[in-house]
């Protein structure tokens, strides 16, 4: 068996086992209703995490995601309130903005040879600041088109609702999988994550790829912002603080190596779902504090870090054997 696949299997196994444990205690949890809500409630996080997966596979990090999502919500709300533009036009404008924002971060990272951590940290403050500049309050969105988006769903057997938002996330994951695993760009991302110097020697266009990676993350953050705005029907500059860290956690729990070069987009989906499942369990239980989500996620992160380190050792010893 290919050792590289093991973290993905581990992620899926943990998700299935966790679901099974929840089901033993609360049989209702195994229903299309819960499954549908799991997808809807975590749609924005899942979409942002797909972008984050590509970034982390390249050995980078994008801390600006949470701020960009908040900016997106505020931008949409303000544009719909103050201009007569159709929401779709606003969406297009927003996606262009966030993609350009991501591309600019990528360009800086490459041109200045700066750590992604620093550049996107600056981006994080910048995007959050611009969101404050637009408004300090929560602006409700009450556009009829928005309502229809929010209510769009397909009724699954068992009365579960597969919402447009949930579908959008699943499509993002599918798109991310094709991009990462079935394109030259995707292989270049893995190559840079495996070793930038070597990748350069092998002819990988480092600058172009780096810019595209962060542009893609910006695009996905913008898309996550749209989904979040639809989900909450409001724009609020203080929203989604720290979501980038949740996205990073989902990526790592999904079996992607935090130092880059190894991982899958599909694993990230299961990372997001596992985190959502813990939240759902706490809701079902009703007596547990929601801080338990953080504690379990913390433990899972440790588990995966140890698993990755262990695999690395096994891989090395196998080779010399």
């Amino acid at each position: 068996m290919n050792l590289r696949r093991l973290p993905l299997y581990a992620t899926i196994a943990i998700f299935v086992a966790a679901y099974l444990l929840c089901w033993l205690q609360f049989p209702n949890i195994l229903s299309t209703r819960v499954a549908g809500n799991l997808l809807t409630d975590n749609a924005y996080l899942g979409i942002a995490a797909v972008g984050m997966t590509i970034v982390i596979l390249s050995g980078g990090i994008d801390l600006s995601v949470g701020s960009v999502i908040a900016f997106a919500g505020v931008f949409i709300a303000v544009m719909l309130r103050d201009t007569g533009l159709h929401p779709l036009a606003v969406f297009a404008l927003l996606l262009i903005l966030t993609t350009a924002f991501g591309a600019a971060q990528g360009a800086l990272i490459h041109a200045l040879a700066m750590p992604a951590f620093i550049v996107t940290l600056a981006g994080m403050f910048l995007a959050r600041g611009i969101a404050y500049l637009l408004t300090l309050d929560s602006i409700p969105i009450d556009h009829p088109f928005f309502e229809s988006l929010q209510k769009a769903y397909w009724l699954m057997p068992g009365k579960g609702r597969l919402t447009l938002l949930g579908v959008l996330m699943l499509l993002s994951v599918l798109g991310g999988m094709l991009l990462a695993h079935r394109t030259r760009f995707g292989t270049n991302v893995f190559a840079i994550g495996g070793g930038e110097g070597t990748a350069r020697m092998m002819g990988v266009p480092i600058g172009r790829t780096t810019i595209l990676i962060y542009a893609f993350s910006g695009f996905m953050a913008g898309l996550a912002g749209i989904v979040f705005a639809i989900y909450t029907a409001a724009g609020y500059p203080l929203a989604t603080v720290g979501v980038e860290l949740n996205a990073i956690a989902a990526v790592v729990i999904g079996g992607t190596l935090l130092s880059g070069g190894s991982g899958t987009v599909l694993g990230t989906l299961f990372g997001v779902l596992t985190m959502g499942l813990i939240q759902t369990y706490i809701v079902f239980d009703g007596t547990l504090s929601s801080w338990w989500t953080k504690i379990v996620i913390g433990l899972l992160l440790f588990l995966f870090i140890v698993l990755q380190k262990g695999l690395l050792k096994v891989g090395l010893s196998r080779r010399t054997a």
């Binding site: 290919n2 050792l3 590289r4 094709l178 079935r182 394109t183 030259r184 995707g186 292989t187 270049n188 893995f190 190559a191 994550g193 495996g194 070793g195 110097g197 070597t198 990748a199 020697m201 092998m202 002819g203 990988v204 070069g261 190894s262 891989g315 196998r318 080779r319 010399t320």
Partner: protein, 501 residues
């Protein structure tokens, strides 16, 4: 000539790395490039492959002048390179590594089947039977090297430069690699082979070019060159000018340390070493022969996997540098810029470093004490610095070396290892370092001095140990120590070649 360099010139601040070097490579030959550290081998290769821009001279490929500006451009022109390390990505599959940048696509997506077929086609004729869909990192270094060669040949196809390709291979793997190299030569490629292992050079090369101090020294048919002559070309010695033993004879003291069967697999074969008080042990050998590796296992920089070190009182723990220091060992490494001095810290801080580490960080040395210590050593070793607060990085090479010596002298170790103590320092400082060595020994300290400068070894050593192919092969004492004898000991053909064949 397939590839020809004429009058190549490359300057770095303070040095001329290549001084009008000429080099010619014919199609269908394996041409070895030899020289010690700083001879200009890697600079020459980097100029040929576009990693460096040359400052003068010209490069002709198939008679046409070329000017590669990057390794990628050189590759497009037909010059492929395989380095000792970092060639391919262990986290990608063999097929991905081979096809990176040229993946066959269907409907805009890369085609697994197409990549597999292309990878198999590229590997055909190399005698490898591997699963191209597995991660490259799952295979041995030898297989990785051959995959790297297959990629380079496929992309370039005219000239193949192998830079130390065998450094981390065992004898069987070397034989496997050479089989591939011979096949490529017979297909008409021009192959440049760089290696420290003379046995391998003689086994595979048609012609040999020797560089020294950035100059072209000789190019000869490998068959007509004998080992002693080659080493003389590399080290720049003539047998006639053999130096005699210059060290004033003195009584070696009692044995203070003894290493038995100390070694590390793949680095240095197990060796015994007995160290007497007030003795200088010289260590001679070519680059990569196991000199530095010996020092590293003695000092715990690379923990030994066999053997023991003991003194009169019992076994000593030298498994890490900190423990070795606690046992009274010191080590001034070869590359003082990266392993020795800390350039941004002052002379005072650099000198106090090891002593402070030895005392433990909980007991800081008072600043006044540090200053007194630094001033004392600046005077004793004649370190040319405006004052003890000057950052070491701003001093000359010779003075940096003296600061490192001062650091260890402050510790007063019983056994100090100096790896290339006189490399890159001027003639005046050179003599002073040798004088310091004499002084230290007079004070009862024992030294192990590793050097490529044979005259230097002859001048200072009580005994000279010769290393070749990662094992200790000879020991010369007293009047036996001459440059001539050392060269002969280095040159004696090893048993490794027979094992490889």
């Amino acid at each position: 000539m397939l590839l020809e360099a004429r009058g190549l010139l490359k300057r770095f601040p303070g040095t001329v790395a290549l001084d009008g070097v000429g080099f010619g490579l014919a199609a269908g030959e394996v041409h070895a490039l030899l020289g010690e550290n700083g001879a200009g081998k890697s600079t020459l290769i980097k100029c040929l492959t576009g990693a460096y821009r040359r400052d003068g001279g010209e490069i002709l490929l198939d008679g046409q002048p070329v000017d590669p500006r990057s390794t990628f451009e050189a590759q497009e022109l037909g010059i492929g390179t395989v380095y000792q390390e970092v060639n391919l990505l262990p986290n990608l599959t063999v097929a991905e590594n081979l096809t990176l940048g040229r993946q066959p696509r269907r409907l805009g997506l890369t085609s697994r089947r197409g990549m597999r077929a292309l990878a198999r086609e590229m590997l055909a004729g190399y005698g490898l039977d591997i699963d191209v869909e597995r991660d490259l990192g799952a295979y041995s270094v030898a297989v990785q090297q051959i995959v790297a060669i297959a990629r380079a040949v496929h992309l370039s196809g005219k000239v193949l430069i192998l830079d130390e390709p065998t450094a981390s291979l065992d004898a069987r793997e070397v034989a496997m690699l050479f089989e591939v190299v011979r096949r490529l030569r017979d297909r008409g490629l021009g192959i440049v082979f760089v290696s420290h292992f003379l046995d391998q050079v003689f086994a595979i090369s048609d012609r040999i070019t020797v560089l020294r101090n950035g100059r072209h020294i000789a190019t000869t048919e490998a068959a007509t060159l004998d080992r002693v002559r080659l080493i003389n070309l590399m080290l720049g010695r003539e047998l006639e000018q053999a130096t005699t033993h210059g060290r004033t004879a003195h009584d070696a003291g009692a044995e203070v340390l003894r290493a038995e069967g100390l070694g590390k697999r793949g680095r240095i074969a197990p060796f015994d070493l007995s160290v007497r008080a007030g003795e200088v042990i010289g260590m001679a050998g070519l680059l990569g022969s196991g000199r530095t590796e010996t020092a590293e296992v003695l000092f715990g920089a690379a923990a030994a996997d066999s053997g023991t070190v003991r003194d009169a009182k019992g076994p000593l723990d030298v498994s890490t540098p900190a423990r070795a220091i606690a046992s009274g060992f010191g080590f001034a490494p070869e590359d003082r810029k990266t392993d020795g001095i800390i350039g941004d810290l002052s002379v005072r801080e650099n000198i106090a470093l090891a002593l402070q580490a030895h005392r433990g960080w909980a007991r800081p040395i008072p600043r006044a004490e540090q200053r007194r210590l630094a001033e004392d050593f600046i005077r004793r070793l004649d370190i040319r610095t405006p004052g003890p607060e000057k950052p070491v990085g701003q001093l000359s090479g010779g003075n940096q070396q003296k600061v490192i010596l001062a650091r260890w002298l402050a510790m007063n170790p019983r056994f100090l290892i100096l790896d290339e103590p006189t490399r890159g320092i001027d003639v005046g400082a050179h003599a002073e370092v040798l004088r310091l060595i004499e002084e230290m020994v007079a004070g009862g300290m024992s030294l192990l001095v590793i050097s490529s400068e044979l005259e230097e070894l002859v001048a200072v050593s009580d005994r000279v140990i010769v290393v070749r192919d990662r094992s200790h092969v000879a020991e010369l004492t007293g009047q036996e120590i001459t440059t001539d004898a050392i060269v002969r000991a280095i040159a004696a053909p090893g048993a490794n070649l027979e094992a490889a064949e």
